[in-house]
Symmetry: D2
């Protein structure tokens, strides 16, 4: 088989968690912020969550962007970086990553599992609890209070 002609997937959804190694402190928020500025500048569709950043687009563009994130963090002085990337491709349908959450929420809503108030367990700066309706927006994170 002629592998040289194999193209990379035209679209993929990648979720990556970039970890700086050998940094003076255990905090990595400055590095993560630098990466978020890069993501924003890329113009690609992405979203940040507490365990990583999800980005969607052509395989080559997505992987170049994550590679640039490594270079960027190296440029600000980090000698070693390890990332974990979950990447998915499918040929049966085109589905934006945000639709995955809404599809599951619709299944849960059908049996009432998502029909509830959500109380975030950590109080807001103003001390008031935040109350949100599960599934009130496509990308909402649902969190079950303790």
């Amino acid at each position: 088989m002629d592998y040289a002609t194999l193209a990379t997937p035209p679209v993929c959804v990648a979720d990556f968690c970039l970890i700086p190694i050998g940094t003076p402190t255990a905090s990595v928020s400055n590095e993560v912020a630098a990466v978020q500025r890069l993501m924003k500048a890329s113009g690609m569709s992405y979203s940040m969550h507490s365990a990583g950043t999800t980005v969607e687009g052509p395989w080559d563009d997505v992987m170049r962007l994550i590679g640039q994130a490594h270079t960027l963090v190296h440029q600000i002085g980090v000698l070693r970086i390890q990332s974990d990337i979950r990447i998915g491709t499918r040929t049966d349908k085109k589905q934006h990553f945000s639709e995955k959450v809404s599809k599951v929420e619709s299944i849960l809503a059908a049996d009432g599992s998502a029909d509830q108030k959500v109380i975030v367990s950590d109080p807001e700066p103003d001390g008031k609890e935040r109350i949100a309706k599960v599934g009130e927006e496509t990308n909402s994170l649902t969190e079950q209070g303790l």
Copy 2:
């Protein structure tokens, strides 16, 4: 050294992505929904996003819960399951996973990077764009429109 006396961490933040293997279709939303019902019933603090589910608690409880998720999905007929788990522990501070996002967003807000409207690139069913303010809630996913 006496390893037998080593305890597991009192708290951890885990983000897992559970993948059923050998299913008749490429859709896994029913399995994910079943896992979400388990998460809700656990009473633990968790959140679902498009690339996985983040859960926080004592190491043993979190790992037992993810193990139960495997058993649950096996019970509904899936012969093989592979999960990717990103798990973090730290001894320098107690930080709820939702605080990670807000800390990064505060850094971005300081240089204006997060001071913007967010246009979700995929239109809602009603054809209207959804508009949200970045960082308007602790756990919001920020998404940059194309």
Copy 3:
């Protein structure tokens, strides 16, 4: 459904990559060595490779061991640790992790893909190339020279 009665899987295969964060240097080999001593002391079936350590056993035992690894590395002064765990369970058959490699190698051997000498691309300290036969032992890593 009564989730409380859900057991964790009786057996699983986990591959974990433990990353110390906020260490003075970019080298993590001392931490990895400490974890390997723990693995050895556990008496469980495991193997180390360049990208992680694979361990097999009951879900609870495997997860406790990885949790102990976090505690151990915290005890030697690392404030923050992030691990990536790939964990698989299956109900259709019992397969030791080393059998996965041999099964694939047998498929490759059938079409001659594995019938070759392997030249390691980096010279040994003594400057001589190391030559090994692919598949000469069940767990051998196969490496294709440049």
Copy 4:
């Protein structure tokens, strides 16, 4: 900052685990074998282990190769594929991935932890135990018998 000029890292070590979703059976060894043929044809330095395949080279080449692996598996009929990729880059030194294992083994050897016979816990088809010397080759997987 001009992100457009950011290059991707000149070298990286990636370890990926490719999972076909929606396949008729729970066995994925044929898909893994197809990917191994691609790896061999690439001429890049790589190694397969029970939990994935490690490959080293320029970021763009490595990511293109993994993307081609997705396309290849889609071509043989798999509608959906999810991969987990652990990828590391460092600017402080050039280290081939096989050196990571030998460095840890040398630390273990110094305190005798690696000076032992290895008994593989699962008997060979002929019922005889397989005995190997830990660290007898740079890339050997070390496995501790039960």
